[in-house]
Each structure stands twice: as C-alpha cells, then as structure tokens.
Amino acid sequence: MKGFLGKRAIASAISLVGLIILVFFLSRLTGDPTDLYLPLDASQEARENFRNIHGLNDPLMVQFGRFVGDLARLDFGMSIRRAEPALDAVLRGFAWTLQLAAITMVLVTLLAIVIGSLAAFRVGGLFDRLATFFSLIGASAPDFWIAIVAIVLFSVNLGWVPTSGTGTPWHWILPIGVLFIRPFGLILQVVRGSMISTLSSAYIKTARAKGVKNRPIIFVHALRNAMLPVITVIGDQAAGLLNGAVVVESIFGFPGVGKLMIDSILQRDFAVVLAAIMVTALAIFVMNLLIDVLYAVLDPRIRY
C-alpha cells in the first residue's frame, strides 16, 4: 500500500508540475493585464509604473523563477484584481465549492444507488423503464439551460426561491438541484448496469435458494460488489464538481472557485488562476486516493 501511495504521489506531482509550467507560460500569451486595469488614456509613465509593481517588465524566465521561488515558501503571489493574497481568495471560493459539491454528491449517491438498485431488480418493469428514461434525459441535459429555465419557473414565476446569491438555505436549493441532474443520470445508469450483472451471479442465486428475502439480497449481498464500478464514476463526477461548476456558479452568482477561475482568466489575474489550479488539483488528488482506499475496503481481493 505504501509503495502504491508513493508511486501515485510521484505520478501526480509530475503531472502537476507539467501543468503549472504549461499554465504559467500559456496564460501569459493571452495578453498584458495593463491594458485591462488602467484607463485608456493612462500615461506611458503610469503604465510603466503598473508593470514594474507587478513585475511584468522582467523577462518571462525571471518572472517564472520568482514564481517558483515564492511557491517554495508557499507564497502564491498577490491577486492584481483583488489586492489580497491569491491563496486567500482561492481558499474562500474553494470552501463554497466544497460545500456545494459535497451536499450534491451525497444526495446524488444515495438516491442513485437506491433507485438504480430497485430498477435493476425488475429489469424491463415499469419502474425500471421510468428510471432509465429519466436518467437518460438527466444525463443529456445542458446545465446552463436547466439553470435558466429553473430560474424562470421557480424564482420568477412561482417566487419560491431566490434567483441568485447566497445567504439563506433557500439560495442553495436551485444550484444544488441543477448540479444534481447530470451526475444523477449518469451514476444511476452505472448502478443499474452493475447491479444487473451482480444479481445474475452465482452467489446471489445461492442466497436466493437459501430463502433470503429480496431487500437483504439487494442491499446486503449484492450492493457491496456492485459498488466497485459505481465508485469510479462517482469519483469522476465529484472531480468535475470540485473543479468548480463554472456555468452554474456564474448563473447563480455563487462565489465558488469555478466562478473565481473564469473571472480571473478573463481579468488576466494569473496568480489567482495558478493558485486555483493547484488547490483544486490537490483536492482531486486526495479524493482519488480516498477512492482507491475505498476500493480496497469494499473488495478485500484488491491489494495495492
């Protein structure tokens, strides 16, 4: 297990370093922030001054060296736009995203497992066909479209929930509801498929022959084995949410890391972009490790 962890950490670290280098240099290609932050009629002097303050006049390699040096001291640099350390802004946004992703994924996982297992129990039955059909629709729905249709329906016309922002629990309902749909559809299909093949295996037939009731067969005997492929998909979906649900977050004005990322990219706030990438990459790495551990817990045959 230890050797496996080490290998995984090294592979991830290599990828992260490559990613950081690539992002650092490529993002500089998108233009000079000076034009964005100073008024059009700013004097040449003011422009030079701005560039000097933010170190934009140095050669690219010098800037990169400074970035790496600062990073070694866990200093992610200052945000140009917000005049605060980039890491602070990112961690604040990430805390919001983490809550949103965690609540959504818990709901998705519980409901998808229960409904998917029940659907697999009578393949081709009415419940199964309904579940399959709605999960397919869910998996095909563009989230930005669902989001604005939901706003018109539930916020504007019915007035049940606020349109955007945060503050009360009511603000969370629409973003969670919209983010819920696609992972739910995808995971439900995987649960169903995996459950169908598990239910037809020999040990389940043995249990049936011994007179075990239906519910314990599904939720005690079969579920544990059927979960293995499901966990992979849950991990993928959770990683997508941790990366920040950019579209949903910006439609609902949710101050998460996805919205922060797109804003910083458009505002050429490179320090924040890099810090956001590193924080989310670390989070996804930790989550993937947890999933591997979960594999080993669920299936004692898996040893790393």
């Binding site: 990613l19 992002v23 397919l136 563009p142 930005f144 579209v247 990322m261 990219i265």
Partner: protein, 307 residues
Amino acid sequence: MAATDTDAQPIADAPHPARRILAMLWRDKFAFAAALFLLLMVFCALFGPMLLEDAATRQNLRGRNAPPFDFSKPWLFWLGGDALGRPLLARIVVAAQNTLMVAAGAVASSLLIGGALGLIAGYTARLASQVIMRLADVIMSFPSLLLAVIVLYMLEPAVGNLIIVLAITRIPVYLRTSRAEVLEVRERMFVQAAQVMGASTRRIVFRHILPVIFPTLITIATLDFAFVMLAESSLSFLGIGIQPPEITWGLMVAQGRPYLTTAWWLSFWPGLAIILTTLSLNLLSNWMRTALDPVQRWRLELPRSRK
C-alpha cells in the same frame, strides 16, 4: 466440419449486414426514433444554411420577440421570433450546422489522435507509455476554459479553432480507453498466436487488436459527441466560444437570456434542440453497446418472446 449439420434446423443464409443492422435497430424503438431524429438533424446541418440562411438573418422589427404557436404567421414563425424579429425555427435549423460540425470535428480528431496514442501506449515499451499517460494527466487537469481563452485569444474565435480546443480536451478519454483495452486484448491467445507466427507489430496492432477495440471506441465516441456538444454550448454560452453573427444552439440560449422573463421561447427552443440531440445520441450509444457486442447481440436478434 460438416458433421455439425445434424440438427433439424438448416441454417439460413446470413442476411445482408445493412439489413441486419436495420432489423436490430427496429427492435429497439427508442434507438430507432433517436436515429431518425439524428438523421433529420444531419439533414438540417447539411442543407439548412443553404435553404434558410436568408430567412434566418432577415430582421423584422415588427415581429420582435413574436410569441410561438401563432399559426396565422408563416410556418417559420411557429416557434416565435427572436429579439430582432428573426424566425427562431429557421435559426435553429441553420445553427445545427455549426453546432454539429464543431462536435463532429472535435470528436473525429480526438478519436483519431487519442486512439492512435492509446494503441502506442498500450503496446509499446514502458517509457513511451509513461510519457503519454503523464501527458494525458496534464491535459485532463488543464482547465478547458483557460485553454479556450488562450487558443481563441491568440487565434480567432472561429469554428476551426473551437474544434481544436474541444479536441485537445477530449483526447485523454480515447487514449485511456484504448490503452486499457489494448493491455487486456494483447494478452489474449490469438494475439500471442500471431506473435508466435511472426506477424509484424504493425500487423498485430492494426489487423488483430484494432478491430477488437474499435466497437468500444465508437460507442464512447457517440456518447462523447453529446458531451462535446454540451461543452461547446457552455463555451458559447459563457461568451468564449463561437461569436455572433455565427450561431450555435448554445449561443442562441445565451442570446435569449436577457429576455427570459418576457420571452422564454428565445432560450427554450434551442435548449430543447440540444437536449433532444444529446438524448438521441445517448439512446443510440446504449443500443450500440448491445449491438456491437457479440456476447449481447442476441438480445436484439432473437424473435421477441411472448410473456
């Protein structure tokens, strides 16, 4: 060899492959409807701009945000008009071209590149494989929004460049799948037999391994087509994809957003077009998973049992 023919039932001639596929498609009514709908969309994409380009761009300020289902108007206005009085139905038909072309281009190129790299990574030495896999990790964790901004800022936001952005982000999907499949297939007996008989690496990879993993790749590509369409729509919706006056369905949803409370149909219909197309692709991909799998295919070929 001929001794197996002792049972009473003579084996009929195998039907023509195309007929066989059609029969299997007919067995799954959802997949059949999906295939029909996709054909219609492809038709719109191919001929829509030619036939309706004029109607789709002609402004008519008296028909601004014309409500849908007003059947006294010409049929192009049955889904309503947009903020400049252009008929939504015509615009959706015309936008099908860009929407489908971007998705098709991105899926085809990522399938080609990713599949080839996956074959190499699965079949060759460890070092090359390691390099390719780490590269895939980097691409996978590279934020696609940033990539889009970079490429579209340096080049220009044209259809071709959008295809490049989306293709790059989807390469790892095919790479990982084909590598995993190759790793499994190359241990099978027939590959070892080919190796023992002295087949060249190229022959083994292309004649023996590729045909086995190809159905999986095609099934994934169908599913991925839907995903890429959604990704393109999101980019266009955020304003960093296709730029007006070019149109895609995602851009149409974005353009209708300011009028949501007064004219819901501006965003609703293009969104519905996206949903129906991705839903059809999902249904078709589900069917393919069965139809292309020799072990599962019988479910679509046996006569329906009477329950």
